[in-house]
């Protein structure tokens, strides 16, 4: 375990042997107490930024909130000390805690859209804490807020405060929330995954705005994220957490360049899967030609004249941000949303537009895997039933033959036959996604559509799934249509790439060509927005941009 670099005598925030517990009420079991954070210590100097990184369940948000003496839900701080400006805030009582929240420490939530009160204007909420704690009069606070809006490059900084939360976009709200945290001039701000819910091209703007604001105001920050590349852009030091325990703590450069713990190295190298692009030699077995599709009876066009080809045993990655139409393309191909114009040819013949008109064999050849594995499986069916059903349905298998095949598939997804009688609720996130993969494979398809299959997973788990998919492709020769917003994933898995923007394919071709300059403006923006595990990347990326972010 690395020791914290210490300099200076009394840190702003000094957490010692923090222990946090929660009471959980599992259905049908006796309530019990679980420990979320095991004796973690950290310290933070004035004006410095400490990044807290880890997968879900690492306890990073819980630790962050402990600096405000706050526990979410049934969470309780049961041991240790939290020294802020030299005093233990856990011993301050309700009044003491209330006096420091919103004054000495402020909080920026992951979803600003939910964290703002829908009933009040933004300005009233931004200045609320400053007025409450007597930091400023209303006029001073509002003047300061407008200045902060300007610093965070919000549009129309003079008047944006008069709006209501629902009248402002997600990326802007996140910046307004940062302004709200800065308004009362606190010593410390807790940023809790402030850019995670944003599109990648929006994230970079917000990230740059936050970084600049931290630098100019000299506030200290705890920056919580699951994305090491993001944390590396804003932090002076990084603390890696896992299962509520400290893994490694060091300067940003040391963590990303010379990680000392195995777990940290895994996080650093998570996106580095070697994948050799296959040659486009063979002719496509599935061709999407000039597809136009719309929701709401033709009113809202979501796909405009889209054409792509899928080659046998290869992967076409469809990349785009929310609203780009990439998932709609999958729905059109599967027949769930019959296109208004255009056609889909499959193995030389035209595929019916509607799902109900397709033959059972056509359905079998085309399988799908979903983003949220837990809702993609019937919670009342066992793994055996879930994987076995396509075998029964398409191949009429039953009894022992089916069970043997299910066991074989379970081996293929590296889970083993012990899982056959489990229910989905008894599996981890990665295992659930693996079962979904096995269900798709059971149909012996030629194409599997993967709709954001790794987005809901922690990076290391996602990495495992990608490796599994690549391995299965080599074994079974199945093709993938891989829909994602994450360019790093694309680089790891694709043979060809289609970049989508507002319902259109703006760039399409083999991976090596698509990722080779010169780029069109949008692809350039998209590529340059993907955080890289590199100190100083953010400034470089912002400096080199040709196009404003897509959604802001």
């Amino acid at each position: 375990m690395a020791k914290a670099p210490r300099n200076g005598s009394s840190p702003l925030l000094d957490i010692r042997n923090l222990r946090i517990e929660a009471r959980v009420y599992p259905p049908g079991e006796a309530p019990r107490t679980i420990t979320l954070v095991h004796d973690v210590s950290l310290s933070l100097e004035k004006g410095k930024v400490l990044g807290l990184i880890g997968e879900s369940g690492a306890g990073k948000s819980t630790i962050g909130l402990s600096s405000m003496a706050y526990g979410r839900g049934g969470v309780k701080i049961t041991g240790g000390e939290v020294l802020l400006n030299g005093r233990d805030i856990l011993k301050g009582g309700t009044q003491g805690v209330r006096a420091l929240r919103g004054r000495e420490v402020c909080y920026v939530a992951q979803s600003a859209a939910a964290a703002f009160n829908p009933a009040h204007r933004l300005m009233d909420q931004v200045v609320e804490a400053s007025i409450l704690h007597g930091v400023a009069t209303r006029e001073e606070a509002e003047r300061r807020a407008v200045a902060l809006f300007r610093k965070l490059s919000l549009p129309d900084p003079e008047n944006i405060g008069q709006r209501f939360p629902h009248q402002v976009s997600g990326g802007q709200l996140q910046r307004v929330m940062t302004a709200m945290a800065l308004c009362s001039e606190p010593d410390l701000i807790v940023f809790d995954e402030p850019t995670t819910a944003l599109d990648v091209t929006t994230q970079i703007d917000v990230l740059a705005a936050i970084k600049e604001a931290i630098r100019d105001t000299g506030v200290a920050a705890l920056y919580i994220s699951h994305d090491l590349a993001v944390v590396a852009q804003v932090s002076d030091e990084i603390m890696v957490l896992r299962h509520g325990r400290l893994v490694e703590w060091g300067g940003t450069r040391q963590i990303i360049k010379e990680p000392r713990q195995e777990y940290t190295s895994a996080l650093v190298s998570v996106h580095e899967i070697e994948h050799q692009e296959k040659q486009p030699g063979a002719s496509p077995f599935l061709s999407v030609r000039n597809i136009t599709a719309a929701y709401g009876g033709g009113k809202i066009k979501v796909l405009k004249n889209v054409s792509v080809d899928i080659l046998p045993g290869q992967t076409l990655a469809v990349v785009g941000e929310s609203g780009s139409g990439k998932s709609t393309l999958a729905r059109a191909i599967t027949g769930l949303l019959p296109p208004e114009e255009g056609s889909i040819t499959f193995a030389g013949r035209t595929l019916s537009n509607r799902l109900s008109d397709r033959s059972r064999d056509d359905l079998r050849e085309l399988q799908m895997i979903y983003q949220m594995a837990d809702v993609a499986m019937n919670p009342r069916q066992t793994v055996g039933t879930i994987i076995g059903r396509p075998l029964e349905f398409y191949f009429g298998m039953g009894g022992r033959e089916r069970d043997a095949k299910v066991a074989e598939l379970l081996d293929k997804i590296e889970m083993g036959r012990g899982f056959i009688d489990r229910y989905p609720a008894e599996l981890s996130g990665g295992q659930k996604q693996r079962v979904c993969i096995a269900r798709a494979l059971a149909a012996k398809p030629r194409l599997i559509i993967c709709d954001e299959v790794t987005s809901a997973l922690d990076p290391l788990v996602a990495n495992g799934i990608l490796k599994l998919l690549l391995g299965l492709q080599a074994e079974e020769g199945v093709a993938y249509l891989f829909i994602t917003h994450d360019l790093a994933t694309v680089k790891s898995i694709a043979d060809s790439i289609a970049v989508m923007y507002r319902g259109e394919v703006v760039r399409y071709g083999p991976k090596s060509e698509v990722l080779k300059p010169p780029f069109d403006a949008y692809t350039d923006l998209l590529l340059s927005s993907v955080p890289e595990m590199e100190i100083g990347w953010l400034e470089k990326a912002i400096g080199g941009r040709r196009m404003a972010s897509a959604g802001n």
Binding site: T334, L363, M368, D374, V375, P379, P390, F393, P424, R439
Partner: protein, 276 residues
Amino acid sequence: MLDLKRIPIGAWIGLILTTLFLIAAIFAPLIAPYGLGEIVGDVWAPASGQFLLGTDNLGRDLLSRMIYGARTTIFIAVMATALSFSLGAILGFTAAVVGGWFDTGMSRFVDLLMAIPTLIFALVVLSVLPSTLLTLILVMGILDATRVYRLSRAVAVDINVMDFVEAAKLRGEGKGWIIFREILPNALSPLVSELGLRFIYAVLFLSALSFLGLGVQPPDADWGGMVKENKDGIVFGIPAALIPAAAIAALAISVNLVADWVLNRTTDLKGGRGNG
């Protein structure tokens, strides 16, 4: 499996009382000390060793009438619940899965029926229909089916848009598999607990109708009707009417306790097993 030790005390009380009521209803002629219409004593005689609950407004044994009343009350309520449930659940599920004009038409019609308070609508209809058991069951069952329809449609619509149902549709599964194998197992817990609530509602509704003189007609008597028969005694300080009223309350509360427990036990969609 069900772990008896984990059943909370409230649910135990509910289960035991419900069972007692059911036994009384089923074996009424064997248990009741006197006949249903048999006049055996003075009018409104107080409780005594001979008449455990006293006698009613005509001098009939109240306990015996209570036991027979349990039979009438529970029978009609069960039949009405069965009708409302099968009608409402089948139509609701079908509407959710089929969609289109059937769904729109059914849902608008149910909205219309629910725009009139149930009791008022029942009174309007009963003003022209003959007061028979069958009429009562039909009127109560159909009016209450609207609530079951709304619930089962809402539950089924929620499940119908989930990815696992879409996966089944993409696989090419028929409507039967989707309704019975994908949707129904996941809709069961809310529906089962609703079953209890609908039964309680049927008991209360029937009792109210009978109390108003528009439900079960003499000489038959259900508990609501017995309240009506004995209500004039109240002003003289004779509590005979309170006894059937209390019985209705006790039955409703015990079924409520059981339904509450069932709902709490199986409320999460996640668990397949291990939520005993």
